[in-house]
């Protein structure tokens, strides 16, 4: 983008086109173009989200089934089933809450991360490669940045309701003692988007899928679930393995969720650190995705 400032007439251009062009375009066709560019420049990301959300409708059955099935199955299996074992054995040994209460916010955050890994992996590579809709969108007035932003918004459209449903089931199971427990929804969504944004920035760089995504799932994301204090406190791990939790956004999101859902005791600086760490992941992934996408679409 040229940095030249231009005094350009015409109210249609106001605010939408600062610093572009050496001279103000005067012709009718140029003015018409500038007028037509106003709405897409402002709302483009929403249009992309609208499109992506419609596409998701193609697998809305899966979305609804997993959105309801996941919380029921996991809360029941771990929070009720496994809990009988855990509570019976750990009960007296320092545990302050039931295992169900302990594990529920972690499962909520994991569910958000699962949705993120679904939506920010193959669908992104596909939109560049197998069904290159990103190129189609880019041929319209929409910019690569808006494509990325719209993608993020559309995932939120799936993730937020799914997390709310999950939380409602947590309430039904009696797993949320704290009155501000609902904030754990935000913690989960923040975790999902933090992981998702970074995943998208990586997947966007892939030219072909020769198993990278599957590898990442198997050796990146699955271990993350196991070593992020999801099923047992991080402190139970040997000291030399605890760093996995510290760098894992899922651990930060899970701990944050626990603070909200049952007031898990931790110093305030650590709570702030959880938020900042998740924000850092998200912002890095988001900006990197925008950069990679812009480069890839501008061939």
């Amino acid at each position: 983008m040229s940095g030249t400032e231009s005094p350009r007439g015409g109210s249609v251009a106001a605010g939408s086109a600062s610093g572009r062009g050496a001279q103000g375009p005067q012709s009718e066709m140029a003015r018409a173009a500038i007028a037509a560019g106003t709405l897409p420049r402002r709302w483009g990301a929403l249009y992309v989200a609208e499109h992506r959300t419609r596409s998701m409708a193609a697998y809305k059955g899966t979305i609804i089934a997993t959105g309801i099935g996941n919380p029921v199955v996991y809360l029941f299996a771990l929070g009720v089933g496994l809990a009988t074992l855990v509570d019976a054995n750990v009960g007296g040994a320092g545990a302050t809450v039931s295992y169900l209460t302990f594990v529920a916010p972690a499962l909520l955050a994991s569910a958000a991360v699962t949705i993120a890994t679904e939506e920010f992996s193959y669908p992104i590579l596909g939109a560049f490669k197998w069904n290159p809709t990103f190129f189609a969108i880019n041929a319209s007035p929409i910019s690569p940045r808006q494509i990325v932003d719209g993608q993020m918004l559309s995932v939120l459209v799936r993730m937020v309701p799914s997390c709310i449903v999950y939380f409602l089931f947590m309430l039904v199971f009696g797993a949320v003692p704290s009155p501000i427990g609902w904030l754990s929804i935000l913690a989960a969504v923040a975790t999902g988007m933090a992981v998702g944004a970074v995943l998208m920035s990586y997947v966007s760089t892939l030219q072909t899928d020769s198993g990278q995504i599957a590898l990442l799932m198997r050796f990146g994301l699955t271990p993350m679930f196991l070593f992020s204090g999801t099923f047992f406190p991080l402190a139970q791990l040997p000291a030399y393995l605890q760093w996995i939790g510290w760098i894992s956004p899922l651990w930060h999101g899970t701990e944050l969720g626990r603070v909200f859902s049952y007031g898990a005791p931790e110093p305030i600086w650590l709570t702030v650190a959880h938020v900042l760490y998740l924000a850092a992941w998200f912002v890095f992934g988001w900006l990197a995705s925008r950069r990679v996408t812009a480069r890839r679409l501008n061939k």
């Binding site: 040229s2 420049r41 596409s55 290159p132 809709t133 319209s140 910019s143 061939k299």
Partner: protein, 308 residues
């Protein structure tokens, strides 16, 4: 004369050291149907992407609708319809929904988009495929749907990159008919093709592009007049004999071109040349007299065929 809608001067696109487009200049007038004719790898698609304001030029000057795409990409793209070389319809959406979601990208109200989608499905002769899955459409139908999608914003300029490549003859003719209607309605068409018949059918004016440079420019008829003869006599003597026979044909016609499978004799009167050849005691296996085409122009300009 009305101001041109596209002005390219010394337009260049380099990938590292390779110049895909190497300093080309052209103008397109409103309502004109303008073609870039050249073989694969000539730089046509790259030029189209620059004109489509999705690929940044390396150097030179480019103005679309009096705007610089470096500064006004979205604004320019709001006025374009783009039919890319490879279909990129959203296969997760039904046929008509592809038009609807795409129309929204131009900031068009839902109501307008719905109405135009119906009109364009009819224009594309896909009324009975409204709810069809994209994957269930034939190649020609997908192409027509892509063109319908490109028209959803009522564009000033329609960019078509190899619009009929890969289609069977019947599908091509249906497509040409639709494009010809757009041309009649005054839509500015810019298309690339490596089919000479397509260029002759659709283009008022064209540039012949090879290796990133423009070799010639003019209307199809003018190019043929300038670079070829009225008629061409094609004779075949068998692939092992063509070269040898060609030596004996020196002096026959205006020019003789030897291809691996046949000999082309350029002349104002093909039949007369065939008589000369027979008088020499040479009897071709097959012979054919035809009008000169853009293929001959290209051959003359580059020494190579369009489709290799």
């Amino acid at each position: 004369m009305p101001a041109p809608v596209i002005v390219a001067s010394d337009l260049t696109k380099k990938y590292k050291d390779f110049a895909a487009v190497d300093g080309i200049s052209f103008e397109v007038a409103p309502g004109e149907s303008f073609g870039l004719l050249g073989p694969n790898g000539a730089g046509k698609s790259t030029t189209m992407r620059m004109v489509g304001a999705v690929s940044t030029r390396t150097s030179g000057d480019l103005r679309i609708l009096d705007l610089d795409p470096n500064d006004y990409g979205p604004e320019i793209r709001s006025q374009l319809g783009v039919v890319p070389q490879a279909d990129n319809l959203d296969v997760e959406l039904k046929a008509r929904d592809n038009l609807v979601v795409y129309g929204r990208y131009f900031g068009l109200p839902r109501k307008v988009v719905q109405q135009r989608a119906d009109e364009l499905m009819a224009f594309a002769q896909l009324e009975d495929k409204v709810k069809a899955k994209v994957d269930d459409l034939s190649g020609g139908m997908k192409r027509r749907l892509t063109i319908a999608r490109a028209l959803i914003n009522d564009p000033r300029i329609l960019l078509l990159d190899e619009p009929t490549t890969g289609l069977d003859p019947q599908a091509r003719h249906i497509l040409w008919d639709r494009l010809f209607r757009l041309k009649e309605q005054g839509t500015t068409l810019v298309l690339t093709t490596h089919y000479m018949d397509e260029a002759e059918q659709l283009c008022d004016r064209l540039v012949v592009v090879d290796k990133g440079s423009i070799m010639a420019e003019g209307s199809p008829a003018a190019l043929i007049r300038q670079y070829s003869s009225r008629e061409v006599l094609e004779v075949r003597f068998g692939s092992d004999r063509n070269e040898q026979v060609a030596e004996q044909l020196a002096g026959i016609g205006e020019r003789v071109e030897v291809l691996p499978d046949r000999i082309l004799v350029y002349s104002e009167d093909g039949e007369a040349e065939l008589n000369h050849i027979t008088e020499l005691g040479l009897h071709p296996l097959t012979s054919l007299v035809r009008r000169s085409s853009l293929e001959d122009v290209f051959l003359r300009l580059t020494g190579r065929s369009l489709i290799e």
